[in-house]
C-alpha cells in the first residue's frame, strides 16, 4: 500500500508517533522507576526521585526476601499451581459431560454451571468467611485453593465447552467402536484435541491466581499462608519506612508474570482473545 506523502500526511504521522512514544514513556518510566528504587537507599529515594542509585543495592532484594517475600512467593506458586490443576481438570470433565456425554437434564446442568459466570465474588464474601471458620479452613492454604477453583470453574468450563462442542462427533463414535471406555476417550482423544484452549485457560488462570487480592486478603493473615499481593501490603505496613525493600518486593512479585508474558506472548494473546472473544 503506497500512500502519497502530503504535508498534512507527514504532520499527522508525526503527531501519531509523538503520541505513541509519549504513551510508551508513560508506561515504561514508572516501571523503570520501580525497578531502580529497588536498588536505592532510603536517603536516595527521598533525595532526588529521578536520580540513578549510586550503588546497586542488591541487599534490598535480600532483605525483602528474608522479611517474608520468600514465604509469599512459595505460597503464591503453590496456590497458583494447585488451583490451576484443580480448576482445569474439574472444568474439562464438566465440559466433556455437558457436550459429549448423554446425561439427563443436560441443559439445566449447563445453566447451573455457566450461571456462576454472572456472580461477583464479593457477594458471597460474608457467608464464605463464616463457612470457612466453621470448617476450620480459615487462614489456611486450602481456603485459597478451594475459592480460586470454585469461582473460576464457570468461566473455565465455558471456554473449554465452547471448544469441545465443535469437535466432530465421529471421534467419540470411533473411540467407542474401538472399545475405548469414556474415561480413555476423554484422556487419550478429547483432551489432547483441546490442547489450544487448555493452554489459554491455563494462562488465564495463572494470571488470575497470581494477582488475586480480595479472597487472599480476607481469608489469610499469617505470613506463612499469605500470597504475594497481600504479602506486599503487609510488607509495606510492617516496614513502612524502608521503602526500597517494598520496591524490591514489588519487582519480585511482578517479574514472573511479565516473564511469562514475554516468553509465550503468542499463546498469551490468543488466550486473552479466547477469554473474551467467545
Amino acid at each position: 500500500m503506497v500512500t502519497r506523502l502530503t504535508f498534512a500526511g507527514v504532520i499527522a504521522r508525526l503527531f501519531m508517533w509523538t503520541f505513541l512514544l509519549c504513551l510508551v514513556v508513560v508506561v515504561v518510566y514508572p516501571l523503570t522507576w520501580m525497578v531502580l528504587n529497588g536498588f536505592k537507599t532510603n536517603a536516595e529515594l527521598f533525595g532526588n526521585p529521578f536520580a540513578l542509585p549510586a550503588q546497586w543495592g542488591w541487599e534490598n532484594y535480600a532483605n525483602a526476601w528474608n522479611r517474608g517475600v520468600s514465604n509469599y512467593l512459595t505460597t503464591s506458586i503453590l496456590v497458583t499451581v494447585t488451583s490451576t490443576i484443580a480448576t482445569v481438570f474439574i472444568s474439562a470433565w464438566a465440559a466433556y459431560g455437558l457436550t459429549r456425554v448423554d446425561i439427563p437434564f443436560s441443559r439445566t446442568w449447563s445453566t447451573v454451571i455457566l450461571g456462576g459466570l454472572m456472580l461477583a465474588p464479593t457477594v458471597a464474601l460474608v457467608p464464605l468467611v463464616k463457612m470457612f471458620q466453621g470448617m476450620g479452613l480459615y487462614n489456611t492454604f486450602w481456603a485459597l485453593l478451594i475459592l480460586y477453583t470454585a469461582f473460576r470453574i464457570p468461566f473455565t468450563t465455558f471456554l473449554i465447552r465452547a471448544y469441545m462442542i465443535d469437535l466432530p462427533r465421529e471421534v467419540d463414535e470411533a473411540a467407542e467402536v474401538d472399545g475405548a471406555s469414556r474415561w480413555t476417550a476423554f484422556w487419550r482423544i478429547i483432551l489432547p484435541m483441546c490442547q489450544p484452549i487448555i493452554i489459554s485457560v491455563v494462562i488465564l488462570h495463572i494470571l488470575f491466581a497470581w494477582n488475586e487480592y480480595l479472597f487472599a486478603m480476607v481469608f489469610t493473615s499469617g505470613t506463612d499462608v499469605q500470597t504475594l499481593p497481600v504479602g506486599l501490603t503487609s510488607l509495606m505496613s510492617k516496614h513502612g519506612t524502608d521503602y526500597p525493600v517494598v520496591f524490591a518486593g514489588m519487582v519480585i512479585a511482578a517479574l514472573p508474570v511479565v516473564i511469562l508474558f514475554f516468553a509465550c506472548q503468542r499463546y498469551f494473546v490468543k488466550g486473552l482473545a479466547d477469554g473474551i472473544g467467545k
Binding site: M1, F19, L23, V24, V27, P30, L31, L45, N48, P49, I90, S91, W93, A94, Y96, L98, D102, I103, P104, W109, I113, M118, L119, A120, T122, V123, A124, L125, V126, P127, L128, V129, K130, I146, L147, A150, I153, P154, E173, A174, V177, R182, N211, Y213, L214, L228, P229, L232, T233, M250, A253, A254, V257, V258, Q265, V269, L272, A273, I276, G277
Partner: protein
C-alpha cells in the same frame, strides 16, 4: 493405490457404525448408563453448589439479621439493614464512585482503546506493532496490587514522581497530596486504573481489528477515503461485537472494584474513596456489622446480575444458541 486400500477399512467402520450403534435419539429415559454420565459434571456441580450458590443464598438471609460475629448474637430485623443503607450517605457516595469508575473506564479502556488499537494496527512494520502492543500490556500483567502500590509512591508528596515532575517543568504550584485530600483521591485512583488496564483492552481490540479483511482497507484507500473515515466506516462497525462485550465487562468490573482502592487509600480520606466493595469490607470485617455488609453485597449482586442479564439478552438476539 496403497492409500485407497488403507483408507477402505476406516470407511468400512464408519459405514458400519449405524448398524453397530444405532444411536437413535430414543425417548429420553433415565437409564443407569445416562445417570453414570453425571459423574463427569459432579465435581463441578458440588463445588459450585457448596462454595458459590449456597453462600449466595445465605447472604440474602444474613442481610436480614443484626449480627455480630464475635459475640455471636444474631437477631432478625427484616429490611432494617436496607433502610439503613438508603439513609447512609457513604453508601450513596460509594455507589457514585463506582459509577464514576465505570464512566471513565468506558472512555479510556473502551473508546480510547479502540482508537489506539486502530492507530497501532495502521503501522506498517510488524515489529513496531507487536512491540507497542506488548509494552502497553505490561501494566496489566503486573497485578493491580503492584500497580496500586507503585502509584501510591508516585502520588506520595515527598518522594513521589508526580510532584517532582510538576516541579521540574515549572508547575510546582500544582503539586499536592493527591491521595491525601478528598478532592483528588478518587480521580487519582481511577487514573492509576486506566494506566493499568488500557493495554489489555487495546490488545483485545487489536486482535479484533486483525480479523477484519485487509481488502476492505485497501479498497477504501484506493477510493481515496482518508484514515479517519476508514476508522468510522470500516473499523468501528466491524469490531462492534467486541465493543459490546468490552462495555459490559468494563461496567461489571467497575462495580466490583476493590483491590486498588484497598491498596492505595483503604477508602480514605474521610471515606471519600469508598466504593461498594470496600464499604462492604469495612462494615463487615472492621466494624463487625455482618448483616449490614450482607445488605451491601446484595446490592452488588443485583447490579452485576442485571448487567450480566443485559449481556445475555444481547447475545440471545445475536445468536440463538447461548
Amino acid at each position: 493405490m496403497l492409500l485407497t486400500q488403507q483408507s477402505r477399512p476406516v470407511e468400512g467402520v464408519t459405514a458400519a457404525l449405524p448398524a453397530v450403534a444405532p444411536s437413535p435419539r430414543a425417548p429420553k429415559r433415565i437409564t443407569a448408563r445416562r445417570l453414570a454420565g453425571l459423574a463427569w459434571i459432579l465435581p463441578a456441580v458440588v463445588v459450585l453448589a457448596v462454595f458459590v450458590y449456597l453462600p449466595l443464598a445465605q447472604n440474602l438471609g444474613f442481610s436480614t439479621l443484626e449480627w455480630d460475629i464475635y459475640s455471636g448474637t444474631q437477631e432478625f430485623i427484616g429490611a432494617e439493614n436496607y433502610q439503613r443503607l438508603v439513609a447512609d450517605p457513604i453508601f450513596w457516595s460509594s455507589l457514585w464512585n463506582n459509577i464514576l469508575y465505570a464512566v471513565v473506564s468506558l472512555a479510556f479502556q473502551v473508546f480510547g482503546a479502540i482508537v489506539l488499537a486502530a492507530v497501532i494496527e495502521s503501522i506498517r512494520h510488524d515489529r513496531w506493532r507487536r512491540g507497542l502492543r506488548a509494552i502497553y500490556f505490561v501494566p496489566s500483567a503486573i497485578s493491580l496490587t503492584v500497580a496500586g502500590l507503585l502509584f501510591y509512591f508516585i502520588y506520595e508528596p515527598n518522594l513521589g514522581l508526580l510532584n517532582h515532575a510538576l516541579d521540574a517543568i515549572g508547575l510546582g504550584a500544582w503539586a499536592q497530596p493527591w491521595l491525601g485530600q478528598e478532592s483528588t483521591a478518587m480521580m487519582a485512583i481511577i487514573v492509576m486504573s486506566q494506566w493499568q488496564g488500557f493495554g489489555y483492552s487495546t490488545l483485545l481490540f487489536a486482535v479484533a481489528i486483525q480479523r477484519i479483511p485487509s481488502e476492505l482497507y485497501e479498497a477504501a484507500a484506493i477510493d481515496g477515503i482518508g484514515a479517519v473515515r476508514r476508522f468510522f466506516t470500516i473499523t468501528l462497525p466491524l469490531v462492534r461485537e467486541m465493543t459490546g462485550l468490552m462495555i459490559i465487562v468494563t461496567i461489571s468490573g467497575a462495580f466490583q472494584v476493590f483491590n486498588e482502592v484497598m491498596v492505595m487509600t483503604s477508602g480514605g480520606p474521610n471515606n471519600s474513596t469508598q466504593v461498594l466493595g470496600t464499604w462492604l469490607y469495612r462494615n463487615g470485617f472492621v466494624r463487625n456489622d455482618f448483616g449490614y455488609a450482607a445488605a451491601i453485597a446484595t446490592i452488588i449482586f443485583v447490579i452485576t446480575l442485571a448487567i450480566a442479564l443485559v449481556q445475555l439478552w444481547i447475545n440471545r438476539r445475536r445468536r440463538v444458541e447461548w
